[in-house]
């Protein structure tokens, strides 16, 4: 089915470990985004990408790394996980950056012990 999928849906890891969250979309949307959702903060942008090999920082990028070698994939890596990165992570995509809603995946709930 066409859409945007995130994996894993749930992940538990320990502080200091590296973890990668995957995001795959089948629409060939140019723009992709990573958000984290925390109580009281809504959704905050971590990184975004305008096309393959073009990425830039959002509001809360520290401790995260992204890559986009193919249009359809936009993995998010926590290089050395910290407890403060416990959150629900959402990936989104949109056809253009102007006046277009974003389509979200169902999220990854990440717990860092």
């Amino acid at each position: 089915d066409a859409g945007i999928t995130q994996s894993p849906r749930y992940k538990i890891t320990e502080t200091g470990r590296q973890v990668t969250l995957m995001c795959h979309q089948t629409w060939s949307h140019s723009y992709m985004f990573w958000y984290r959702q925390d109580l009281g903060h809504g959704l905050r942008l971590i990184y975004y990408s305008a096309a393959a090999d073009i990425t830039d920082k959002g509001e809360v990028p520290d401790g995260y790394v992204v890559s986009r070698s193919k249009t359809e994939n936009f993995p998010l890596t926590l290089e050395s996980a910290t407890r403060s990165q416990t959150s629900v992570y959402f990936c989104a995509s949109s056809v253009s950056h102007r006046s277009q809603p974003q389509h979200f995946g169902d999220g990854t709930r990440l717990s860092i012990l």
Binding site: I4, Y31, F33, Y35, G40, H41, G42, L43, R44, L45, Y48, A50, D56, G58, F90, A92, S94, S96, H97, R98, S99, Q100, P101, Q102, H103, F104, G105, D106, G107
Partner: protein
């Protein structure tokens, strides 16, 4: 510094009545606004949007009003239905901001029979 604020974390409304959700923003340069709806364990889904050149946009039971002078937008749901029970996020973006949206913290709506 949260530039988009939803000051009511929750709202309870009777089925058939009107739900009014409010959102305030601080940056007068925001020119595009959206509302998303989110069910538990799912990603946000786009509901309705409005450009800053308009003051009202309607889609079925959902109407968004924009008051630029007050830096305020609201979402009206008429009539409210049990399936409307969800968290609602407002979001705003700047001109040429590459689709970087600022989200509010969300309002939990509960529609009671």
């Amino acid at each position: 510094d949260q530039q988009v604020k939803q000051n009511s974390p929750s709202l309870s409304v009777q089925e058939g009545r009107i739900s009014i959700l409010n959102c305030d923003y601080t940056n007068s340069m925001f020119d595009y606004f959206l509302w998303y709806k989110k069910y538990p364990a799912e990603g946000p889904t786009f509901l309705i949007s409005i450009s800053s050149i308009k003051d009202k946009n309607e889609d079925g039971r959902f109407t968004v009003f924009l008051n630029k002078s007050a830096k305020h937008l609201s979402l009206h749901i008429v009539p409210s239905q049990p399936g409307d029970s969800a968290v609602y996020f407002c979001a705003a973006s700047l001109t040429d901001s590459w689709g970087k949206f600022q989200f509010g913290a969300g309002t939990q709506v509960v529609v009671t029979p």
